[in-house]
Symmetry: C2
Subunit: 693 residues, 2 copies
């Protein structure tokens, strides 16, 4: 597990060190040396006495002990080397070599041996099959580029070494600084979740970086990821992540309605929502979000755009509005006062255009007005490029100076990365980032602003009868869809309103029930599976006489054992479903019913257990949310009751993990009530849950 | 207007030429010289006899005549200079100077004088207030960067000089080559549409560039843009454009339903659809699309991804699927055969992962298999970066060689722009482009693939009674919403099915009508405006007896002049609306009715007149198209009839331009019929159409 010897080793052995920097063992040593590693370095190389100026020893037996060993030797040689070094007292290992579990069964066995040796000595292990670990203390990676480093820079944790390298390529051009880069490779001991856990458990708000970027290929331990990501965010960190593979499971077979809607990507979506992680889908997006994270936090949605070129300001305005952000009009005496200090023809209505001839002093003025005077501005975006006539050093210095002290974020958009290459480089060298494309920035911002805060992990027990839920579940013997009366009982135990229904073989009782609840009613035959096909469902029965006729007719249907009757309700159709996802637990989906779910795929997902805040966030992120609110000419539905049912259902699932799939479809909703009309629940108790996949 | 002296001047005068390259007059001369302009150069400078080695003359009177003059002198001095030079025989002008119509009224007057002088001498004028014109013949711009030039490169036409410069910045890093860059500035004589018109009218398929990128701030002449853009595309060109300002008009006041939905951006959307222009929203997107345009045209949607790094391949697969593109599984004997030739552990299922250790020969093999053997592959994407151990020259050479001969497009994704900077530069120098971010590429591709082909500009007259339409329109005296019987008559004249209805003050006639069409019927009072509020609308009247009662009751409503009765129809609600947009003509909108239009804003737009192909493309680009097709458990509606009504309506509008706003809402649709149930039409004949805005 992660220890100080891994993070800040006093001494490092490079096993397989080489003078050839085109080999991993040569490149990692070069990086350590170029990175001015301050501790003691040793090399292990059977043929040399010195490698790149570092004293070399022929074998791991000969080399003095050290805190950390980085291995760049064939996979087959790694277990022995690790065992020898661990016995010597080496407490941390980075194994760059490939050829382990990712390739063959034999490789997996080698990996096991290494893991056992490392664990037995309480040592840390990164890899195998990775580019290594890079931080401000030591550059134990064989790869390039080495990004600019800063203790307040980004912590990047990646499942894939190559992707980490390519993320760095994308980051370097933007000037993004890093505190550490973790490539966990096969994660034989330390995975993405473990790194995050360590950062959370040892978090020092004064010393530690507040920005984490993740690239994840598979989430091995969703609970752990959720716990530590949300905890870090609550401590003031900002986390963005790519989870690759969002489309792969579209073709998965599914036995129910919910199953077809809930891809495993819903589980990721739900997890990220609950944790408060900003989800990204490309390296470009991830690094742009990372750059935004380096700026002061946004306190609102109102932007001023300051520029000396019209076009990009207009495109940026378009993109911000599309993302739900505002570019409020600036007018009145204050705006006039500012305008009077700019060149004639300048515009201050927002975008503020100081004209191509505008001076650095004009830029300074505009930023000052936006910071101190205009109270409807939360952040400033400055677009300043050049056709090459003048140099931009002075202009960018104004940005630099204002960014030192300004409490509102200032976003530098410097498009002339070629023509003003020297000026942009100088600006970045002062520790700033650059957003070369204004629309890419606006898109990233809207992702950040629209990401929910991490959810409180509350479980709502009020009105949920857990012992009764357990009694019902425990009484069920067979796997599969459970009978309607048990579905009803489970929902009622969770305090979810269910339409009243009555099953009987006695006509008088059926009629009495209908009289009591009032007409119209719905009658259904009990017994046959495909009721509609045999004429076993009749809606909207308005009279006792009609019900009498239908009762007699239905009891004649082959297989009929009884008749069920329930009041015919009206309202807007809603939908709630849930699916148990291996390792994630229950993913709850909600939406408007019918075509909204089936055709428009307008569902949002949350990870049980769900609190009220999350339930509201799920409902409000539906595209069709306005229908729930009510629109011109149409009344809305009771959002509070909808949220309550989502919360109650998630609590039910929490205590009935045997439920693998379920849906309530429809829930009928009016302004007053939301009530379950039909529901299906599939239980699985007896099988190994692995068979699910 | 555009002439050879502008495009290929034998001689150029730089008026205001300077030794100071930080001034426009110095920078443009430097660019001409650096660009190895082969013609005769003259400078005009009152103080020098030679500027940057070019012979200088004190005034425009003194300088010899030339084909082209580029002016970089104060605005006030321009008209005289232009007049003098035009009289001398100069046939083309580029005016870089600002301070004209874009700033003041006086400036506009100067601009007018210039325009008059230029027109009087049949000369061409670019600007004023622009960066100039750059092509393979002469670099008459004052700006940087100068992109790599090639006769088959991109033609960029921009409303904004600064934006053109920033687009070039974004293009240069991708290796995109240009044939010409036009900055039209104030477009006193030549605007974006004129440049496009010239390119269309003089198009030489052998010699001319096939790629046009546009940045447009306002469309001065939509018809001209449509005509020439679609014509060029039909000739084999590919056009992408940014129209900035898509959000500004959201707040426009509108008196009708359609008015509220149709922003002026619908008109742009409709125009681009009709022309076949790929719409982009950022510089990054425009230049990425431009790069795609340089590759062979895609013939299908199936991609193979070849890489030596897993992560980016997965992200790319996700992004392609999201955009409706496929990464089909490769399997069977052919896949096994390929796999056997790669290193153990390589994957060929697609993405094809040749492993980090994979060789250039492996890449070549994979590309060859994808080109010649796998018949379910239309294009290849190659993701090859490096952590810096080996150089990539050989790998990129394989790409280069295959791209020379391969008929399927190969998309090079080279993420290591820093670490493999030299290799990427070498690859670009061979005339290739680079897509540094795989997801940005996938997004651009999906825009291109999903853009419609240019529409045939047919007008469907079959069954449209144009003389009758004109008689009805001509008979209308007052502006405003026209009465229902005229609405019905207009729709019927266009061959649009309208629900039968009958108005009478005689109960017997009403009853006879209802008996003939069949119950149930709808009855509405005629006279009162807000019928529902006074109880003047009754739906679903099922018996003669009931209709009798309602007739008597309605005739008692104050203001009642008659009763209208129509059959009560059932079906899926559709919506068609239209709005006259200044300069664009009629924008037609279609969608599913009700919440789909009002809440989900799920409408698509087309520009009248519309042919069948366009009508189908509008219908099929609805998010809710599956409802029209029919989904599990729900029948679809007659798409052919829906398309027919769109076409017929657009023809009606073509011959009734006095219709400023209208909607048919609802159109009721079943599998068999689509029929208009209610419609409103607003006519405006008597006002200046400018008042609309």
């Amino acid at each position: 597990m992660i220890n100080q010897q891994l993070l800040r080793p006093e001494s490092i052995i490079v096993v397989g060190a080489s003078n050839n920097i085109h080999k991993p063992g040569g490149a990692i040593l070069r990086n350590l040396l170029n990175g001015h590693y301050a501790g003691q370095l040793y090399a292990v190389n059977p043929k040399e006495t010195e490698v790149q100026g570092v004293k070399a020893y022929p074998t791991v037996q000969d080399v003095p002990t050290a805190d950390l060993a980085a291995l760049a030797i064939p996979a087959a040689a790694c277990p022995d080397a690790v065992e020898t070094l661990a016995e010597k007292g080496v407490k941390a290992f980075i194994i760059l070599s490939a050829g382990f579990g990712e390739e063959t069964h034999e490789g997996a066995l080698l990996e096991d041996r290494i893991r056992q040796a490392v664990d037995a000595h309480d040592a840390a292990l990164i890899g195998p099959n990775c580019i290594g670990l890079l931080n401000t203390w030591h550059h134990s990676v064989f790869s390039q580029p080495i990004p600019p480093l800063h203790p307040q820079g980004v912590d990047l944790i990646s499942s894939s070494g190559a992707t980490a390298v390519f993320i760095l390529e994308s980051a370097v051009s933007k000037g993004l600084q890093f505190n550490s880069v973790w490539s966990v490779g096969n994660a034989a001991q330390i995975g993405v979740e473990d790194v995050l856990a360590y950062m959370d458990e040892h978090f020092d708000p004064e010393q530690d970086s507040h920005i984490k970027l993740l690239y994840i290929e598979s989430i091995a331990d969703p609970d752990r990821l959720l716990l530590h990501a949300s905890s870090l965010i609550r401590k003031g960190c900002r986390i963005a992540a790519i989870k690759a593979g969002s489309s792969e499971s579209g073709s998965r077979a599914a036995s129910s309605h919910t199953g077809a809607i809930a891809s495993s990507d819903s589980a990721v979506e739900a997890l990220f929502r609950k944790a408060g992680i900003v989800r990204c889908f490309s390296r470009e997006e991830l690094t742009t979000v990372g750059c935004v994270f380096t700026l002061p936090e946004l306190r609102g949605r109102n932007f001023a755009i300051v520029t000396h070129a019209g076009g990009p300001g207009v495109m940026l305005t378009d993109a911000l509005s599309k993302g739900g952000l505002n570019v409020p009009k600036l007018e009145g005496p204050l705006a006039d006062e500012l305008k009077a200090q700019l060149y004639p023809g300048a515009a201050v209505g927002n975008p503020i255009d100081i004209l191509a001839t505008g001076t650095p002093e004009h830029l300074r003025l505009c930023l000052e007005y936006c910071e101190e005077r205009f109270d409807n501005i939360d952040a400033m975006m400055a677009i300043f490029g050049t056709p090459g006539l003048v140099q931009m050093f002075e202009m960018y210095n104004v940005l630099h100076e204002r960014m030192q002290t300004c409490r509102k974020p200032i976003f530098p958009i410097l498009p002339s990365v070629n023509t003003a290459g020297a000026e942009v480089a100088d600006f970045l060298a002062k520790g700033h980032v650059n957003f070369a494309d204004e629309v890419t920035l606006a898109t990233a911002l809207s992702r950040i602003v629209n990401a929910p805060r991490p959810a409180a992990n509350e479980i709502e027990l009020f009105g949920v009868d857990v012992p009764r839920i357990r009694r019902i579940i425990d009484s069920i013997q067979d796997d599969g869809y459970i009978p309607p009366y048990q579905v009803q009982a489970l929902l009622r135990s969770a305090g979810i309103p269910v339409v009243e229904e009555f099953v009987s073989i006695k006509k008088d009782e059926i009629l009495a029930f209908a009289r009591r609840t009032g007409f119209p009613v719905v009658a259904k035959v009990v017994g046959p599976v495909h009721k509609s096909d045999v004429g076993g469902v009749v809606l909207n029965i308005k009279t006792e006489q009609h019900l009498r006729l239908e009762f007699d007719r239905m009891m004649q249907i082959p297989g009929a054992t009884a008749v069920m009757v329930q009041p015919m309700l009206k309202g807007t159709e809603l939908f709630i479903g849930a699916k148990y996802e291996e390792k994630f637990g229950h993913v709850v989906l909600c939406g408007l019913g019918g075509i909204f779910v089936e055709v428009l795929k307008d569902v949002s997902s949350g990870l049980a257990p769900l609190g009220y805040e999350e339930a509201y966030s799920m409902i409000r992120s539906l595209r069709a949310y306005k229908i729930i609110q009510g629109t011109r000419g149409q009344r809305g539905v009771n959002e509070d009751k909808f949220a309550e049912i989502i919360v109650r259902l998630s609590t039910l699932l929490r205590f009935a993990t045997e439920i693998k799939e379920m849906d309530i479809n429809p829930l009928l909703a009016t302004e007053k009530h939301v009530i379950a009309v039909d529901a299906r629940i599939r239980i699985e108790k007896n099988r190994d849950s692995d068979e699910e996949n």
